[in-house]
């Protein structure tokens, strides 16, 4: 008994976490926070031709309470930034944020007084999808990367204090 590790995840716990990760990555409910041009490519990626549904992310939820992934699509101005932050705060854990398009990543070529220079200045971002706007293929690539991230991270079922 003295040889057994007294702390750290055991076999069962880590396998359970892998299973939870697997379940979560294929049931992504996105909250599309669509503001601008990138919304057109989001629509393309979400509808039949490119079909985000293949990756389990087909159903958008327009209530932050029901969503896992905040998809920030399009330019975020200083006027809309507090609203974006509020939507993020309303989402339940576990939650992820995807910066869709270069405006949300860095501000893009809107280097001016009205535009937030990257949403990572106001909220934590998991995946950046660059492009102005990104092609639907790039969106799907970002989605796959997010799935990998969800799979590989820890999913403690009991909150550790």
């Amino acid at each position: 008994m003295e040889n057994l590790p007294s702390e750290g995840p055991g076999f069962l716990t880590s396998q359970l976490e892998a299973m939870v990760g697997w379940a979560r990555k294929y049931s992504i409910f996105v909250y599309p926070f669509v503001t601008a041009c990138c919304g057109m490519e989001y629509m393309s990626a979400a509808s039949g031709h490119y079909d985000m549904d293949r990756f389990g992310a087909g159903l958008p939820r327009f209530s932050p309470r029901q969503a896992d992934v905040l998809l920030v699509v399009g330019t975020v101005s200083h006027k809309i930034a507090p609203i974006l932050r509020r939507v993020y705060d309303q989402m339940c854990e576990p939650k992820w944020v995807v910066a869709f398009g270069v405006c949300t990543c860095t501000g893009g070529f809107y280097d001016n007084y009205s535009t937030v220079q990257g949403i990572d200045t106001i909220l934590p971002v998991d995946i950046y999808i660059p492009g102005c706007p990104p092609r639907p293929e790039a969106v799907l690539d970002g989605l796959i990367k997010l799935q990998a991230k969800i799979q590989n991270q820890r999913h403690p079922l009991v909150r550790e204090s």
Binding site: F33, A36, M40, S44
Partner: protein, 446 residues
């Protein structure tokens, strides 16, 4: 405490809709005052997507402003491009080539179809017709493929150039475009069957959100919104530009000015746009695609090497291959789409890399504080965008940067008259009416 049923006080309720709301495509906040379910008063708060378009243009050269115009109405960026370029051309007094004006008409109309498809798709989806949305998105995808073939990008294309377009149409475009149009027509027909006589759709849109003729005029609303109210104004007919005076098309008009009429007008305009494209492909000089280049074709790096060695004899007739993004800019095509005007037209790539005159010409246009310099003055030029009259007011002080670029965004005026279309109707009608206005935040807030 004598609360009898007779003197109970009722108060109107204030309800915020937006700026982040599933049925608001684009960011806008509607502050509504409701009496029960009836809308009494609506105030629209705009500016959530202000991206400093006009200020950014003042800080960039005349050519660098073109990508900013893409992102005004991002559902039909080609029309914005051409509108801006035409305004600057008017200031410079440049005549674009005949072929270029046909290319501009074709691409504008393709853009108009994508815009109307998106508008109908989004507003139908908001009324619960998800199937129609998916069909229309499918049709839009066919046209995006065409746009990508021609411009190299799907959405933010920057295809217009001051004096012309980026490049000639690619090989085999005529057949591809025709096939895409046929597929689009098929989807439109499908949606026509799904929606036009659909009881639920008609009930939700007929006699809802009526914009009277008087209001349309007094709020200076243009485009499909005004035409659905019976106002026969279309910039393409009233002040023909590019090649619109040489094509035959009808301007559909509505009678009642309600949501259903707006839907019908948009559907018919798509049919007319397809008609225009077909005529242009037939009529345009030098045929629908660029024909065999002719001359001696050579790799561009070989061309540069030979030029560096001074072996320039005969190089002037050589056509160099270019990377795919520059296709359509080779020597024989270049002169069909750009005017022979060294002040504005970049030389073709063979000249830029092949001889010193071309190189210097290229640098004079590209370099900071050289560039295109329109004479002092100001002008206004309007094109018929998908939402109505899109005007560009450009002012020059003779320098290489615009002194002022002001846009007349068509949907700004629709938003000004929005309250007349919502007041007196139910809360649920806000979604239907708002969808039919096709508010695009990019051009509304600029």
């Amino acid at each position: 405490m004598n609360s009898s049923a007779g003197n109970r006080e009722t108060r109107n309720m204030l309800l915020n809709i937006g700026p982040s709301h599933p049925a608001m495509h684009g960011v806008i906040r509607l502050i509504t005052e409701l009496e029960g379910e009836t809308v009494v008063d609506v105030e629209a708060e705009i500016g959530y997507l202000h991206r400093a378009f006009e200020k950014s243009c003042e800080n960039s050269s005349w050519t660098q402003a073109i990508p900013y115009t893409d992102r005004l109405n991002y559902v039909s960026p080609l029309i914005n491009n051409f509108g801006y370029c035409a305004a600057v051309e008017k200031l410079l007094g440049i005549q674009i080539t005949e072929r270029c004006s046909y290319i501009r008409v074709i691409m504008s109309e393709v853009s108009r179809i994508t815009d109307h498809l998106t508008c109908i798709a989004a507003s139908a989806m908001e009324l619960g017709a998800m199937t129609a949305f998916l069909y229309l998105m499918k049709a839009r995808e066919y046209l995006y493929e065409i746009i990508e073939d021609v411009t190299g990008a799907r959405l933010t294309i920057s295809y217009g150039r001051i004096g012309g377009v980026k490049g000639d149409l690619p090989e085999g475009l005529g057949a591809k475009l025709e096939s895409a149009l046929q597929k689009t027509e098929r989807e439109i027909r499908e949606v026509n069957l799904l929606l036009t006589r659909n009881r639920i759709f008609v009930d939700r849109t007929r006699d809802v959100g009526v914009l009277t003729r008087e209001n349309a005029v007094s709020f200076s609303i243009t485009g499909p919104l005004a035409r659905a109210s019976g106002i026969n104004y279309d910039v393409r007919k009233a002040f023909p530009y590019f090649a619109y005076d040489r094509v035959d098309f009808d301007v559909p008009l509505g009678e009642r000015g309600d949501n259903y009429d707006r839907y019908l007008v948009r559907m018919e305009e798509m049919t007319q746009s397809i008609r225009i494209i077909r005529q242009c492909l037939k009529d345009m000089p030098d045929g629908p695609v660029h024909m065999g280049a002719g001359g001696n074709v050579m790799n561009s790096f070989d061309l540069v090497d030979q030029a560096k060695l001074g072996q320039t004899a005969g190089l002037v007739n050589v056509v160099s291959t270019v990377e795919p993004t520059l296709e359509g800019m080779e020597r024989p095509y270049h002169k069909r789409i750009m005017p022979d005007d060294r002040r504005v037209a970049l030389p073709n790539k063979a000249d830029t890399y092949g001889n010193i005159e071309g190189l210097m010409n290229h640098f004079k246009i590209i370099m900071d504080s050289h560039g295109i310099r329109p004479p002092k003055g100001d002008t206004y030029f309007a094109v018929e965008a998908a939402n109505g009259e899109l005007g560009f007011y450009v002012a020059s002080d003779g320098k290489d940067r615009p002194y002022r670029v002001r846009v007349r965004p068509p949907c700004f005026f629709g938003m000004a008259g929005l309250h007349t279309m919502l007041e007196g109707y139910m809360v649920a009608d806000i979604v239907a009416t708002f969808g039919s206005i096709n508010m695009i935040a990019g051009e509304l807030d600029r």
